[in-house]
Symmetry: C2
Subunit: 448 residues, 2 copies
């Protein structure tokens, strides 16, 4: 597993993976639990987990000393599926692996990140998890989230139901962050009557990096899945740039708002359900406006038609983009300007486009068009300005909704999986199904 | 102008537009400056400007009393162009009207908002403006900003140059908020060697509403245009939901982030240039990292090819959208997931799409493809994950840029106005021209 040189020392010192060891290399002295070497990584890099929870990699060098401090429990690397021994006094959680940075490792040669870690490796790395609950682990697939498709949403939904029906008290889905909010939103429509917490969790920095957020996010997700009463799809990610707490966000009201920060995920037009504190495992509920878990039978409804376009309006937009939508899409979500606008050219200005006829043509061809805000924050209101009123007259759906463009997109995919009737589509779109349309504006939810 | 009933009272009381009057109607007593009636509005609605700066409309009713309190200066309604009498001790500002809510009025019958006010009406409404500077007013066009096109950007740019060359000490552009950041970004590329402050200003609430933000925004913009040393295109909008200060944002680093809030505009990945305080007209600079005004000759370079597409990547995206881009666009900006990703399907998963071949096909057909972050905040980094490295290998431009999707879009439009050479396009795109690519990450600019 490790290089020959390292292996020789390990054998002579009777050190095995999982043992607590002390490494001495020149001035450097560190101790921690010896981990298996990084898959696809440098075989000369000795990886130990320190007491602060972070992994560190020490490169082999002649004269390096490894000393056994304490024998550990042997770490079994049963890939693809593993369970901890069941303790009837603790809840049982199912961890479903979908891939992403939370289960990935850096290739040290190139610095690139690959999805290479199995969920149970995390169990070995984070024994705290076992204190919270009995753990069942299953890898569904191992993809970076940009490669996840609506078909994968269905696989996740089916396996969540399977785990719940076989007795799990809570579900954790390990998922890449790039499209985590898309998956959470899809699950919020596909799964109803949710009887146990279902928490998506990811990491912005891979587990090999000192600044990895995977440990805190996973522990907070486990506490949420094991102890909370949240009967909705939620997302658990760092609340701040420090390691103090995670926010538990409503799955269809959260968005990745930064390319790299650990606290990139933000609830939009709503408050998170709760904070979960890392130091004391406490769940601090922030409001009471969510569905609770209970003695319900989970319902799956995963019919979906993913052939929906998402088009952002901007000055100079080529109207052919709207016209061509008729040929390739079964539905279109527009990310409009301001309160929900497109160019209308009321004054017949020679320089302007009126794209409402192209939009009306889509609707008249039974391709529903839904409005969403490119501002991200705020509510669609197509009554204030003439552009909005003309869009409503043309049949554009969405007035009064405070959904994200991505949420409108996935809801329309899901609705189109159920009906082609334009009236029904509008009716279901405008019905609040899983908290995606807030009743009132929560003051103080802007940019927090 | 007003209804016959009102007109009769005005005549008998010798009240003219611009006079200070007191209105008594049942229990209600209000006083202020009589304004012209709202264009297209109800002729029976008497509009006065109160001392707090806000307008109020009082409906005519039998028994209403209007009393002259003080004769005012006559308000001249010279539409399309007007100048104040020049005072050589004060700077001269040019206000260019492009339309939008800041110059619009509510149609009282329907509650809908129309662009109907001319810039000089604001001068009459806000005499404070005259204290700051001599004012020249010109209306370029009167459009809601969703109707503004790249051709209008050129008209604005040309007229800014005209005003500066005829001696203006500062330029204010009154513009709708929906696409104000698009126009500001376009001007930031079209105008170089800026010798006087050029400030775009708008309002989220129309001038007839008690909560209108037009007064504070306009006064702060005038202070910025008259006194600041900012030699870049800037945007002046409410800093908070209170009437305390405006932020002066860099034009190509600001985004409308809320459909309706008055403080909807936010600098992204950068700090605003300054705060301008409403109560004391003071400019508080927040940093020094911007171009200063000086003895320069303004340069206009308004060549632009607007035929650029902006496509957001999402799970289930129809690859035909990328393929068809070849037929209709001369360039494409991708709003990628995370650090700048698209689906790549490295594991040849049957369910996933690999859209990199379609992107490579665009590039091989000399259609440049530029990456931008759908997270809005953060920097593109196509070196961390394999998807990014594959995109770079295919020739996608943008690694290391922290631009907004909208800024990348307009910059590519502008670059395509100058060259079709793929190497040159990449070179100019990756050169920081007007602050659109920040050198370093400013910690603390996320969601503030």
């Amino acid at each position: 597993m490790y290089s020959k040189n390292i292996d020789k020392i390990l054998k002579s010192e009777k050190i095995e993976i999982g043992d607590r060891i002390k490494i001495t290399k020149n001035e450097l002295i560190v101790d921690g639990i010896l981990l298996p070497r990084i898959q696809m990584g440098n075989t000369s890099c000795i990886v130990i987990k320190q007491d602060n929870g972070y992994n560190i990699g020490i490169m082999y060098e002649k004269g390096i000393k490894l000393k056994l401090q304490k024998k550990g429990k042997p770490i079994e690397l049963r890939h693809h599926s593993s369970n901890t021994k069941s303790n009837v006094n603790k809840p049982t959680l199912s961890i479903l692996g979908a891939g992403g940075t939370i289960s990935s490792r850096i290739e040290y040669n190139t610095g690139a990140v690959f999805p290479e870690l199995y969920p149970e490796d995390l169990l070995n790395s984070f024994p705290q998890l076992r204190k919270i609950s009995n753990i069942k682990c299953r890898e569904l697939f191992n993809l970076f989230s940009e490669d996840i498709t609506p078909e994968h949403w269905k696989i996740i939904a089916k396996n969540v139901v399977k785990e719940i029906n076989s007795g799990s008290d809570g579900i954790i889905i390990m998922h890449g962050t790039d499209t985590m909010n898309y998956t959470a939103t899809a699950l919020s429509f596909m799964l109803q009557n949710i009887p146990v917490p279902i928490v998506l969790v990811g990491a912005q920095r891979s587990s090999d990096r000192g600044s990895s957020d995977n440990m805190m996010n996973l522990i907070c997700a486990a506490n949420t899945a094991a102890k909370s009463n949240i009967g909705e799809i939620s997302v658990c990610m760092h609340g701040t740039s420090s390691d103090n707490f995670c926010y538990i966000h409503r799955g269809n009201k959260v968005r990745k708002m930064h390319t790299s920060r650990r606290d990139a995920f933000r609830s939009i037009n709503s408050f998170p359900f709760a904070k979960v504190w890392f130091d004391n495992n406490k769940i601090e509920y922030l409001h009471n406006d969510y569905k609770k878990i209970g003695n319900k039978k989970i319902k799956i409804d995963d019919k979906i038609n993913p052939n929906v376009g998402l088009l952002q309006i901007h000055p100079g937009i080529n109207p052919k983009l709207i016209e061509y939508s008729k040929k390739i899409f079964d539905g279109v979500v527009i990310s409009g300007t301001g309160l929900g606008h497109v160019s209308t050219n009321p004054s017949k200005n020679k320089l302007s486009n009126n794209i409402i006829p192209a939009i009306k043509n889509l609707i008249d061809s039974d391709i529903p068009v839904v409005m969403s805000p490119q501002t991200i924050y705020g509510r669609i209101n197509m009554n204030v300005y003439s552009a909005g009123r003309l869009l409503q007259k043309a049949g554009v759906i969405g007035d009064g909704a405070d959904w994200l463009p991505e949420t409108a997109l996935i809801k329309l995919m899901w609705v189109l999986g159920h009906t082609k009737n334009m009236k029904k589509i509008e009716e279901i779109m405008m019905t609040n199904i899983s908290g995606e349309i807030s009743k009132r504006n929560d003051i103080g939810t802007f940019l927090v």
